[in-house]
């Protein structure tokens, strides 16, 4: 199949409520499900749609993201023959562009250059906070069938599936049958308990994108899905909603991040997210199989390669290169790469970021609603002291 889409990923997400996990990484680089980072999910959607290139708009230096993406070859986004990942740092985008006038100048230009040069018919705009498995080809076919100006992805959700102070919005459907959209409402203003969550993922023709880009520039507005819906409605053009029915979690705070990981221990959720034409792709790392010792007791848990497990692990997710000693007990927890849990330690409702050391006999117990998070490189002592590096 030939490449048909030019994807634009806006990776400037709300990250404050995800601290300390986002201290040194953007939301897109958050580790997920033992082997992945959140960016792997939209990237794998692009891979399945055989996209040749992608433009990334990021804030800050983005080096954790670069180190993961490298040339983009894992996702077919690299090639000597055209294509590639084009990265654009917009620091903090429009929000405080005054402070970053140097970058501001290129905000519209970078979008313009990428889209005009891409060999593609459509532009797809997406982000990394809506953890999901969107089939871009189906979205494209829907868009073509409807002969839509712009098509936006939504999912029917209940209010309690989102953070109580969510910043996201709902789509108002004009005619349920026809899926045309009549407006966008902040969720805080929505009265119903069940609504159509705007997944801020859009497809539109290259030509329409360039029209709207020009309008955004004239009005000094952000280039994003919500503004583009507005432009389209104002012009009286058709805006259609494409319903997504698979697994979705909006990663907006520690709780939703924790829940999303735990959701993977449910086979239906796991399959919804991981079952694709191709597997979800992540940068491959050389590794040895995980060894489970004679004393290991495992119940409903997921592991990556390269671990050594001698203790008890229940209802938890364990990332690469983790060592769990005999008599250690881990339950309802997320243990990231390179962590080490010594004998007799007890962890429940805990998130350990990378390279955390839990000393002999240490105990940490959070709650499902409020898991304890230990930042990268931390050390947890038996006396209850936590030392952050």
């Amino acid at each position: 199949m030939r490449n048909k889409i030019a994807p634009i990923l806006n990776l400037v997400e709300y990250e404050d409520k995800l601290k300390p996990l986002t201290n040194r990484r953007p939301v897109a680089s958050l580790p997920f499900a033992c082997r992945y980072r959140l960016i792997d999910f939209p990237f794998s959607s692009l891979y399945n749609a055989e996209a040749e290139s992608a433009a990334l708009f990021i804030s800050g230096s983005g080096h954790s993201l670069y180190d993961h993406i490298r040339s983009g070859s894992t996702w077919g986004l690299d090639s000597l023959a055209g294509g590639g990942v084009f990265t654009h740092s917009q620091v903090k985008l429009k929000a405080d562009r005054s402070a970053e006038s140097k970058h501001d100048r290129f905000y519209y230009e970078d979008h313009y250059n990428y889209v005009t040069r891409a060999r593609a018919e459509y532009v797809v705009m997406m982000g990394s906070a809506f953890l999901s498995n969107i089939q871009i080809e189906s979205l494209m076919h829907f868009h073509e069938d409807k002969d839509s100006q712009v098509t936006v992805v939504y999912k029917k959700v209940n209010r309690n599936e989102l953070s109580s102070d969510t910043v996201y919005s709902a789509l108002e459907l004009g005619d349920e049958e026809d899926c045309d959209i009549s407006g966008v409402t902040a969720i805080s203003d929505v009265k119903e308990d069940r609504f159509n969550l705007n997944m801020e993922t859009m497809i539109l023709s290259k030509k329409t994108f360039l029209d709207y880009l020009y309008r955004a520039k004239q009005a000094d507005m952000d280039i994003n899905v919500n503004n583009f819906i507005k432009f389209s409605l104002e012009s009286g053009c058709s805006v259609y909603g494409y319903e997504y029915t698979g697994y979705l979690k909006v990663i907006e705070d520690i709780k939703s991040y924790y829940d999303a990981n735990m959701d993977m221990l449910d086979e239906d959720n796991f399959n919804s997210l991981f079952y694709r034409a191709d597997p979800v792709r992540t940068r491959s790392k050389n590794s040895a199989p995980t060894y489970y010792g004679k004393s290991a007791v495992i119940e409903n848990a997921q592991f990556a390669n390269d671990c050594e497990v001698y203790g008890t692990v229940k209802d938890s997710l364990v990332y690469r290169k983790v060592t769990i000693a005999e008599d250690a007990h881990i339950e309802d927890s997320i243990i990231m790469q390179d962590s080490c849990i010594e004998e007799g330690a007890y962890l429940k409702h805990v998130i350990l970021d990378k390279h955390v050391y839990v000393k002999k006999g240490a105990r940490l117990e959070g709650t499902a609603d409020n898991p304890i998070v230990i930042a990268k490189d931390g050390v947890v002592y038996a006396e209850g002291e936590v030392k952050e590096e």
């Binding site: 060894y291 004679k294 495992i298």
Partner: protein
């Protein structure tokens, strides 16, 4: 850039003693240890020894092997103008070039080696499990000003007659070579690892070919010719784990040994890693009904049954109430419910249906072949 050393990995053999495991794939491509194929050990040794120019000579059923080796990037060989090059039979103005033996395979690929213009050629076998620093052996070769250095390891005297053994003088110079002798004069067995000074070897291969002298096999022809001509041949002793996995029993027992967390190979040692081509797959999922003891499990596995002292390679599925003991399961095998597998090797993509049994003994390992289906009812298929 001048290349000092080229390694030639001879990976063309069928490995017929592995029976149905090597019907569709070459022996060096047979899976090992959960995450590897046999040839990964030789390729990783090259990479770790700083040898980046590697010719992989393939001939028998090469599709899987070639796809696995690629340009060598999984082993980091493709940097600095190096890389793995697949060498298969071809034709030229002189006619068709199939490979009739170890030395003949090198003879047929002289053009490849000459392109690299090396001082030394390291000849390796693609089907041994070991970790070895060829650079140290090369240093020894240079120090002795040898024209050939043979990697040897001491074996128990009673086993010596199963090997090619090297009788040496006090300086470790080889004075006699006995192929599977009844009365061995030495217990130093050849590991099939040779370092040759290339110009000399080339001369032997080309001269003898032009005189129609048989020069097809290193053990049978080249070493005896070197000995006859009093070339400086030295033995380089290797101590450490080394295993030829040429039979079903040795493949099985090598995997069982590999399970030991204190195994000599030390697979988790980051200073001498064994690299492989990693598949893109999911995490390992051990459900609430899983019981896993003293076992290695690889990414992509889904385990609802009981695993004792076994290795599951990537993407293996094990259903509820199935019990796998003392076995090695190759990638993508699917094992249903209520299955019993013991002292067995299950081939890539094999399907063991519900309620089936596959039970062997240490002397007679049970085997499911590559893609084989075992059990099940005809109306279900």
């Amino acid at each position: 850039m001048k290349t000092e050393t080229v390694a030639m990995i001879l990976a063309g053999g069928q490995g017929s003693r592995l029976g149905k495991l090597t019907k569709q794939i070459a022996k060096p491509a047979v899976p090992f240890g959960g995450n590897y194929r046999i040839i990964d050990f030789a390729l990783s040794n090259c990479a770790n020894s700083g040898i980046n120019d590697v010719g992989v000579v393939t001939q028998y059923q090469p599709l899987v092997l070639n796809d696995h080796v690629g340009n060598g990037s999984s082993w980091g060989l493709n940097r600095h103008n190096g890389g793995a090059t697949i060498l298969q039979p071809y034709s030229s103005v002189d006619g068709e070039k199939f490979f009739k033996g170890t030395a003949h395979a090198v003879f047929q690929n002289i053009d490849f080696i000459d392109q690299k213009n090396p001082d030394y050629v390291v000849i390796l076998s693609g089907d041994h499990i070991y970790k070895m620093d060829y650079e140290k052996m090369l240093d020894y070769h240079k120090q002795q000003a040898a024209s050939l250095t043979v990697g040897v390891m001491p074996v128990p005297w009673e086993d010596a007659s199963r090997f090619g053994v090297m009788a040496t003088d006090r300086t470790d110079r080889i004075i006699e070579f006995q192929e599977k002798p009844d009365n061995p004069k030495s217990n130093l067995a050849s590991m099939g690892i040779y370092i040759f000074s290339w110009p000399r070897l080339k001369q032997y291969l080309v001269d003898n070919q032009s005189k129609n002298r048989q020069m097809e096999d290193f053990g049978h022809h080249v070493i005896p010719a070197y000995l006859r001509n009093s070339e400086a041949i030295y033995a380089y002793s290797f101590e450490g784990y080394w295993k030829d996995v040429g039979t079903l029993e040795s493949l099985w027992s090598a995997n069982m040994e590999f399970l030991d967390p204190d195994h000599d190979l030390n697979i988790r040692n980051r200073d001498w890693r064994v690299y492989s081509k990693s598949p893109n797959t999911t995490p390992q999922f051990l459900t609430s009904s899983a019981k896993v003891k003293d076992s290695m499990i690889t990414d992509g596995c889904y385990v609802a049954g009981e695993i004792n002292h076994s290795i599951l390679s990537h993407n293996v599925k094990v259903g509820k109430n199935s019990v796998i003991t003392d076995s090695f399961i190759m990638p993508n095998a699917v094992i249903g419910e209520n299955v019993r597998i013991e002292k067995a090797i299950v081939g890539e993509g094999a399907h063991i249906y519900d309620d089936a049994e596959l039970v062997g003994t240490e002397d007679d390992i049970a085997v499911a072949g590559y893609g084989e289906e075992i059990g099940g009812y005809s109306d279900e298929k």
